[in-house]
Every structure is written in structure tokens, then in C-alpha cells.
Symmetry: C2
Subunit: 124 residues, 2 copies
């Protein structure tokens, strides 16, 4: 864990609910360490992702976002206010249970992205 990685990790955690993109992480990281470069932010995010400290979230082909939530969770993208929310897995639920997986397949991970309007935008 280098200084740069620490800074990047801290930023991702501070902005957790925002699900920042690499550029947003870079902008915030610069405030803490002005010498840091965008390439280093990408490197650190990749390292942290591989280390399992952070999750990379992709919606369509937009810029990847990063999330420090390590619990199994899905992401909800509000098409109205453009924000991203974590959605927790229900108690004892299994994300793959609605799906008719072929026998013998071994599942390593599952990415679930929902799109819609959040409670605020739906007018509640």
C-alpha cells in the first residue's frame, strides 16, 4: 500500500455514495496529493480492484465507476437524476436463483445493473 494507493482508496471511500469515475477520483486525489497523475489513479484503482478492496462498476459503455462496498450488491442507475445507488441482496437470497443456469456451469461472479427512476425522482 503506497501513499498514492492510500490516497486513491481514501477518496473512493469518501465518495462512496457517489460512485466516482476515475476522473472524479483523480480530481479529488489531486487535492490531497497534487503531484498524483491520472495514470497513477488508473493504476491504483486497478490494483485495489484486483486486491478486492474496491469494485469496478460498469453501466453500458459509460466511464467505469468505483465502489468500496464489498458486500454482494447490485447497482441502480436513476435515468432521471443520473445517480447510482447500491442495492443490497435480501437476506438468504441468491442473485442467480431466478436464472435457469445450464447444469455444470461454474459461476464466479454476477453483475446486476438496474435502470429506472429512484424514489426521489418517481415523486415519493
Amino acid at each position: 500500500m503506497t501513499k498514492q494507493r492510500r490516497v486513491v482508496y481514501d477518496v473512493v471511500r469518501e465518495l462512496a455514495t457517489d460512485h466516482p469515475t476515475a476522473s472524479e477520483v483523480y480530481a479529488s486525489a489531486k487535492k490531497k496529493m497534487s503531484s498524483i497523475s491520472l495514470a497513477t489513479v488508473y493504476n491504483c484503482l486497478e490494483t485495489l480492484t484486483h486486491a478486492g478492496a474496491v469494485t469496478q462498476v460498469n453501466i453500458d459503455r459509460e466511464a467505469s465507476r468505483f465502489c468500496p462496498n464489498l458486500q454482494p450488491h447490485a447497482h441502480f442507475f436513476c435515468s432521471c437524476c443520473d445517480s447510482v445507488f447500491d442495492v443490497e441482496l435480501r437476506q438468504r437470497a441468491d442473485a442467480s436463483s431466478p436464472w435457469n443456469l445450464p447444469d455444470g456451469s461454474r459461476i464466479e461472479g454476477i453483475d446486476v445493473a438496474m435502470r429506472g427512476t429512484c424514489p426521489k425522482c418517481s415523486g415519493h
Copy 2:
């Protein structure tokens, strides 16, 4: 439905189980209509997607793939043989049921991408 759109649509259906990328569609479309351009393939795929004739499938940040399966389904990406399979929704199942959605949110769509090894690669 122009000639080009017809060609692109036919190609996507012929290569359905392959989940072709735009460039793969382009390569096959050229065999049927040598004058077609890559930009047109992108245009047609976008039009067909908006028209609901085709689904755009994104896995991580790799090139988008296209799929003529209009039933609700997920995608299984085999990290061993690099192929993509459709996974059907179980009878009467709901893809969002394992998830603890906040009250008042309105869900418009859900993308589910699984990663793992397919039956063949798992040795069955």
C-alpha cells in the same frame, strides 16, 4: 427498414449464438453487401436496438455485442473459452426478486451478466 438494416439484422440473427460485436457484424455484412460501411453498421445496430429488434449486451468495457433474443434473459460469459451464452429466466421468476429495492423506485430494466466457466470448460 432499409436494405442495410435488413442485412445487419439478418447477420445478427445468423450469428445469434455468437453474440457478435459491431466489427464482427460488419465483417459478415460486407459479404452480403460489399459497399456497407462500419458507420452504417453502427447506425443500423442503434436503430434496431431502439426499435427493440435487437439487444445490446455489455460485458465490462469490452466491445458491445448484439443479440436478437428478445425474451428476458441474462448473459453468461465463459472466462475460459470466451464465449457468451443466453441464460433464460425461470418460469414465473422475477430478476429483481433477490434484491432489496428501496420503496418507490421504478425499475425499467435490468442487466444481468454472469462470469464463470461454462459446462464444457468445467469438464462435463
